[in-house]
């Protein structure tokens, strides 16, 4: 827990609030209460957390308000969650989403 200010990899100093950790693939990310998963990932310097179905291109947050569906991630096993809308929660397991994120169903 910290209440200092930081110059995170994603951007310059902004006042912080007490933070908590969640998992992003193999990493631990700190998030502040009320922060979206996208915001926490960006603050930690991550910009891409999805690979597209057709070109396999990296994508991250674009519109930031739930309109564009570009920032999709798999959260606690549920694919296609909009990282810009879903608030990070302590202990969340967030995974980079590959394609449609439903490879478990492929046949």
């Amino acid at each position: 827990m910290s209440t200092d200010t930081r110059a995170g990899a994603g951007g310059p100093a902004v006042p912080r609030r007490p933070s908590f950790p969640f998992r992003f693939d193999e990493l631990t990310i700190e998030a502040e209460p009320g922060q979206s998963i996208a915001a926490a990932l960006l603050a930690a310097g991550h910009r891409s957390w999805r690979r597209t179905r057709v070109a396999g291109a990296g994508r991250g947050m674009f519109c930031g308000i739930g309109v564009c569906f570009d920032c999709l991630v798999t959260v606690n096993g549920r694919p296609n969650q909009r990282a810009c809308l879903v608030e990070a929660a302590p202990g969340d397991l967030v995974r980079t989403q590959e394609g449609a994120g439903r490879d478990d169903l492929a046949c």
Binding site: R53, A100, R102, D103, L105, A106, C107
Partner: protein
Amino acid sequence: MVGAACAYHCTSAGLRVTVVERGAIGGATTAACEGNILLSDKEPGAELELALLSSRLWARTAQALGAERLEYQEKGGVMVAASPATADGLRKLTAVQRAAGIDAVDVSRDEVTGLEPNITPEVAAGAYYPQDCQVQPVLATARLLRHAREHGATVLPGTAVTGFVRDSRGAVTGVRTDSATAPLIPAGRVVNAAGTWGGELAGLAGVPLPILPRKGFILVTEPLPRVVRHKVYTAEYVANVASGDAGLQTSVVVEGTRAGTVLIGASRERVGFDRSVSLPVLRRLAAQAIGVFPFLAEVALLRSYLGFRPYCPDHLPVIGADPRAPGLLHACGHEGAGIGLSAATGHLIAQVITGAAPDLDLAPFRPERFEETTV
């Protein structure tokens, strides 16, 4: 789709063709269907003969134009029966279908699971139809018309027919349109391929044609990997397709597409041209599809669309020359099978116009049959 198939087969037969479309190409019923080319839902009779011919012609067309470009897939159909009683009925149906020339394979519960790994374990038995195919209907329409244009056809989208031109003996010799640049299109023959609006168009020529709309919804999911391999229906589908009931009927049709979306149908309602979205119908379709593929409960619905199938009282299309208006031919009223039956329809229309002997007896499809039966 049917109009494009007529243009394709007529230009291929050396005829000069003008296609007049009120809206956008393939923008009405064609844009609101799954692109079925089915034999599995047919019972022996005139429609099955038409479907068998069409199935062969579609394969030929796909080869000529490129299967990829039409998204033509020989994916096969799987019909499932939930209860032993339905399974018995299905066995009887497949026996009759086999006798009529359909490749219908009875499959056990385990074999159904082998064909469709994601299917519910609560299946009694099934039937496999390797001849069932699919195209992307709007793309196929565009591709057929492109071929027709390359063979001399003129295509006029956004142009509505406002009336027919008749000679002194009453024969149809062309159409009038609302277009400033082509207000009058002279033609030796006019083919009515207006689908659900075919009756309206025939009315402009003074000939009644009882074609009515039968509304249907389709649900489209978010994109997925390949999760459904074939067209999968429940055995009730065949009963509903053939039903004359005016009330809402739903049965399950689930299939994947090239784009990754899963399409879920099918509802049938006779409510005129009511374009409103009915949530109860969407809910029923969703519930039934989940019954067959339980994983769908977690999958997101992205959109729904609706369309109006053109249906005739005897569930057969209208194909051929109209003796009540010489020079006018009809190619409409295919209900939910227009994509599948379009190839044979276009082919037969071309045969009639060029004076060749039709591959099929057109008597069951003759336009004047409805007046005869009411006398």
